[in-house]
Assembly symmetry: none
Homo-oligomer: 162 residues x 2
């Protein structure tokens, strides 16, 4: 079964299940209320209706309150980020040639460092995932890395990528 979509299907399944459970629970709850209502021959409906109304209203009020009360402070935090202004960055050609890393491999290395998955890289470069895997395999081989995180680390210290 080929996993086609990128966003986790597992999570979506869980979300759907949660909604389902929620709905069923709600239905059962209503049913129970109904039955007890009949059992005790209570006709008066105003309590549920007004209770629910009050609940909903004050829930909304509470949510609104919570939101407005707390969203005051974290608005503007100015960070001082040492932005290096004088670095267009060029990969170390010597080291590149030394490791016999091809342009395509370097390109993929960059995308790996950007945090993309093989599938995302494949989509980005319009090639198959298998191709990306062979490229990255050879890349790891040349870099002496066993994991992509290690490859990124090594490449950074070798000034192959920013």
């Amino acid at each position: 079964m080929p996993p086609t979509t990128e966003s986790s299907p597992h999570s979506r399944r869980r979300a759907f299940r949660d909604i389902l459970v929620y709905g069923i629970a709600g239905g059962l709850l209503i049913l129970i209320l109904k039955l007890t209502e009949y059992r005790f021959l209570v006709i008066e409906h105003s309590f549920e209706i007004y209770g629910g109304l009050i609940a909903a209203l004050f829930s909304a009020l509470g949510i609104w309150l919570g939101l407005t009360l707390t969203r005051k402070k974290p608005s503007v935090i100015i960070k001082e980020i040492p932005a290096s202004p004088s670095e267009p960055f060029v990969p170390d050609e010597a080291r590149l040639a030394q490791l016999a890393i091809t342009p395509r491999e370097l390109e993929i290395l960059g995308l790996i460092a950007a945090g993309l998955s093989n599938r995302e890289i494949a989509a980005h470069l319009f090639v198959s995932e298998n191709t990306v895997k062979t490229h990255s395999s050879r890349l790891f081989d040349k870099l002496g890395a066993r994991r992509r995180t290690q490859a990124v680390q090594l490449a950074k210290t070798s000034r192959l990528i920013p």
Copy 2:
């Protein structure tokens, strides 16, 4: 399904679960009120009391919901300021607190960025691999990352790690 979305699945799941708990709790509350009403035969003049009770309870619930649901929404204005090129590096405490990243999680983040596998990290910290996985899962959740490479990338741009 376009493979474009990158929003955290964790948060969505939490939101669903919160809503679920919330709904069930509300229903149970009504049920309990109903039952007690029958048991003690308190019929008259109870509407104001229970209405107030429901209002107060649901207000509190709503506030809590609003707070937990909107817990971490950064919205930071980033201002780039050229800084000294040779700094000993200190992690951005503000950002760290903002994302609610614990010291242990930061430690593991650093080891991930160093290219270590979960097993190696576990051996390095004398904990089980499962613990490392738990930490990194929560870390990814807080960082909004789905892969460790992405976590590293995000952490670097947020100045959490060198």
